[in-house]
């Protein structure tokens, strides 16, 4: 018998299904994290949190130390952040696994906003659940991010998330449009090593007679 720490679900090797394991390892922590963020946001600011704002908060929680990008995300989500003109974005519904799942977790969505039933209990339960999974740092980071970024307007969140990604200006934003966030992080690493490589030379320096404006 394998009992995942603190989880209500007990998995037996004999009847364990692959999907339930995936669910247990990625979906559940993600749901608890989102629940914690919604509950703490409601506790602190006394209102439900907008989906777009929540997506940005999740980005800061999982991918940054508050301002700068981490080398690897703190957890793996069952969904993918994408980069759009307004910064990184993810479908919260998709991460949660759909409406019926939300009801199960006690998360309520009205229009574009998320709320939890029983703010204080939800907060404590999800915090405890993350700690039991060995994710105390993640829970603390969530609280820190909601404290620091929760009160900001959408425009500020967009600017700061793009800054964290190192995306400055419209040209880079356009070149990165509709990239998955993790692909972007890998590409930036590869770009740095290509630019630093001594094995190749910029073609515009090799052939300055060619790479110039015409007309």
């Amino acid at each position: 018998m394998l009992s995942l720490m603190g989880s209500s679900l007990k998995l037996t090797f004999g009847n364990i299904t692959y999907m339930s394991l995936i669910d247990e390892l990625t979906r559940k922590p993600a749901v608890e994290l989102i629940k914690l963020a919604i509950a703490y946001y409601a506790k602190k600011y006394g209102r439900s949190v907008n989906a777009a704002v929540l997506a940005k908060l999740l980005f800061f929680i999982i991918y940054t130390d508050g301002t700068k990008l981490l080398n690897t995300p703190r957890i793996k989500l069952p969904g993918e952040f994408r980069i759009y003109s307004k910064g990184p974005s993810i479908s919260i519904d998709e991460v949660l696994g759909g409406e019926s799942k939300m009801i199960e977790y006690g998360i309520v969505r009205t229009g574009d906003n998320y709320y939890v039933k029983g703010i204080e209990e939800s907060f404590e339960e999800s915090y405890r659940s993350l700690v039991e999974r060995g994710l105390r740092d993640l829970a603390e980071q969530a609280i820190k991010v909601v404290d620091e970024y929760g009160a900001l307007g959408m425009d500020d969140l967009i600017v700061r998330s793009l800054e964290a990604l190192g995306i400055q200006g419209e040209v880079i934003k356009a070149m990165a449009f509709n990239m998955s966030l993790e692909a972007y992080m890998d590409v930036v690493r590869r770009l740095r090593s290509v630019l630093e490589s001594k094995g190749s030379i910029d073609e515009e320096d090799l052939y300055p007679d060619l790479f110039k404006m015409i007309g």
């Binding site: 993918e80 994408r82 759009y84 003109s85 479908s91 519904d93 998709e94 190192g166 995306i167 400055q168 200006g169 419209e170 040209v171 880079i172 934003k173 356009a174 070149m175 990165a176 449009f177 509709n178 990239m179 998955s180 692909a183 590409v187 930036v188 590869r190 770009l191 090593s193 290509v194 630019l195 490589s197 094995g199 190749s200 030379i201 910029d202 073609e203 515009e204 090799l206 052939y207 007679d209 060619l210 790479f211 110039k212 404006m213 015409i214 007309g215």
Partner: protein, 215 residues
């Protein structure tokens, strides 16, 4: 489709220089151009149109090969038509490796192309009244180029929302060395009250490389 690398749309005058620089490296042992590293490391995906490719074959490549300083570029002992064959075969191999992607043909854009074909109203621009006005102002030889540019915009810089109606749209980077075309894109393609306004950013090759160095 989600991009796994940075992406730009390039004009014939840039494609031809790029192909030429890579050919010189592969066939004549000239220094390795940085662009090849960027492509081979999947940092960058280059998109272009069949219009650009045809123009390269018919006009741009023969013109380049007869005008460059062969001695300076290290191929004084190679016949022009032989060099032309080398370049064409290099371009083919870049397309086969999918380092250069032709928007009308590339497999990854199939779904997007089909969506636009069956629902042309999904296109951001190309509204007949606006385009009639625009097209009357550009030189004949540029009509195809502008057409492919707008098509590229719709294919590369818009994403249909998974849930709910509408599209998420970004901007498209168009790399060109043609001053007139650039002016046209910057000044005329910003038709009044049209969704296409400022959606396409035209930059030179040098500016494009500078942007990569800023990330």
């Amino acid at each position: 489709m989600t991009f796994r690398a940075f992406h730009v749309f390039i004009d014939t005058n840039v494609l031809v220089n790029m192909v030429y620089a890579i050919t010189l490296h592969h066939r004549l042992n000239r220094p390795r151009p940085k662009i090849l590293d960027l492509l081979e490391n999947n940092v960058l995906e280059i998109y272009t149109s069949i219009i650009m490719v045809n123009e390269l074959d018919d006009v741009a490549l023969p013109k380049l090969l007869t005008s460059v300083d062969r001695e300076m570029h290290g191929w004084v002992n190679v016949e022009t038509n032989e060099m032309e064959e080398y370049c064409i075969s290099e371009l083919n191999s870049l397309v086969n490796m999918r380092y250069v992607r032709v928007i009308e043909e590339d497999g990854s854009l199939e779904l997007q192309r089909r969506a636009l074909k069956y629902k042309p109203s999904k296109r951001v621009c190309w509204k007949s009244n606006i385009m009639d006005k625009l097209l009357s102002r550009i030189p004949n030889e540029d009509i195809d180029v502008i057409n492919s540019l707008l098509y590229a915009y719709d294919l590369l810089a818009t994403v249909r929302r998974k849930r709910g109606p509408g599209t998420i749209s970004g901007k498209l980077v168009f790399v060109t060395e043609d001053k007139h075309l650039r002016n046209f894109v910057e000044r005329q393609l910003t038709c009044y009250d049209c969704p296409c306004t400022s959606r396409i950013i035209a930059i030179s090759y040098k500016e494009f490389k500078d942007q990569l160095r800023q990330i």
